[in-house]
Symmetry: C2
Subunit: 226 residues, 2 copies
Amino acid sequence: MPRPRAFDERQVLERAREQFWATGYAGTRMDDIAQATGLGKGSLYGAFGDKGKLFHRVFGDWCTAVVEVAEERLAGGPDAEALARLSGYVHLMAENTASDTERRGCLLAKGAAELAQHDPTVAGRSAETMTALLTLLRTEISAAQRHGDIDSAADPERLAALLLTVVRGIEAVGKAGLDPETLRNIADTALAVLPMPEGQKHLATVRPARTDLVPSRPHDPPDSAS
Amino acid sequence: MPRPRAFDERQVLERAREQFWATGYAGTRMDDIAQATGLGKGSLYGAFGDKGKLFHRVFGDWCTAVVEVAEERLAGGPDAEALARLSGYVHLMAENTASDTERRGCLLAKGAAELAQHDPTVAGRSAETMTALLTLLRTEISAAQRHGDIDSAADPERLAALLLTVVRGIEAVGKAGLDPETLRNIADTALAVLPMPEGQKHLATVRPARTDLVPSRPHDPPDSAS
DNA sequence: TACCTTATGGACGATCCATTCCACAACTGA
DNA sequence: TCAGTTGTGGAATGGATCGTCCATAAGGTA
């Protein structure tokens, strides 16, 4: 019975994300978003509440996407390919940052840096996201250990935390200005130093020349949430 | 012949840093800084130009301090203690983040996240800082290799980049909400996976129980620039 | 078709903020 | 002591920004 909305909510959120991503929370004006989406202020406020609520919505969606990308890459599959999945994921994240020529970084990092200290919602959501990623990584490391690709004496929890740190760290040093080639090397190196089972040499890939440990490395994921 | 300044420039910069650190660039008002320093707007603008210039000054000083802390910890000393120096540095950085209960994070990361994309000065300064840290780490890794504490077949450049990424990554995941204990473990793990020379086992420290690889770990550095 | 409900979007109000301005203070050198 | 010069701090300015309001449009329903 009421008049239906003339806009696609998802599309509006996408445009809003683009704005927040480009200029941060404080740096984005509601007028910008109105302009970018073609919506009037009335519709915008009517549909999403206020600037804060709109950002929370965008930020939450982003976090969901980040975890989904990890799930696509990591969850499921035979133990025999667990190490390859881990490698693919880490390299994907490195590639995302490396190809981010505009240096927009990741909205998760950007939002957390700007707001986590004062906004419990953002703080909570980013923390959830970290633990979700940690769980995915730990599971995969355990799988690789079962298959004998990673030393089973190592603590999967710790290795997962290390890999997560490397992934998030690549984003950080990328935004800080390290060049793409270095970023890709970091991903290689991180995977190369993972402890191999006793008896196997694992050092080779840390040597200067080797960069071929890793299987094919996909570009431009559908939702390239870096 | 002119009237001398009644304020201490260093002290004013310190207070300004505190503000920018706490609330970011856009989130900090010049009135806040005036209030915090006790200066009037006229003095503030007369002495530092405008908000942007003031931030650049603060940001630059911070970057200098970050490198200085690394130099104090890393540069100089016998090769025999190079690995210990590396370990001390990485743990110090982890401790800084772990003890940052207010979750302010690091101004370098915060500033870069907020401004690097649009402000070439910030982008350039943060990039310089990264390469300076990289150089310090590489030098120290080479020293440890000479002494036989790290496999000399490994590329010091790559290991340095990995360690830098871990250090910056710890800051990032810390701000994102991982608990202090996990952060400390990450530092342990990163050091434990460094490739040992052939013949030596290096895996032990990745095992759950071990956390004692590292020498004493200082708290509260003079200029605790995390 | 007439009516009711919701959407729309631009104008508006109130607030906030960076920057400038200015009257006055403080110090130096003659 | 007396200019002359620079520092000081708060009031004023001008522009920007968030959120509200309201007259109107557009579906649905009877």
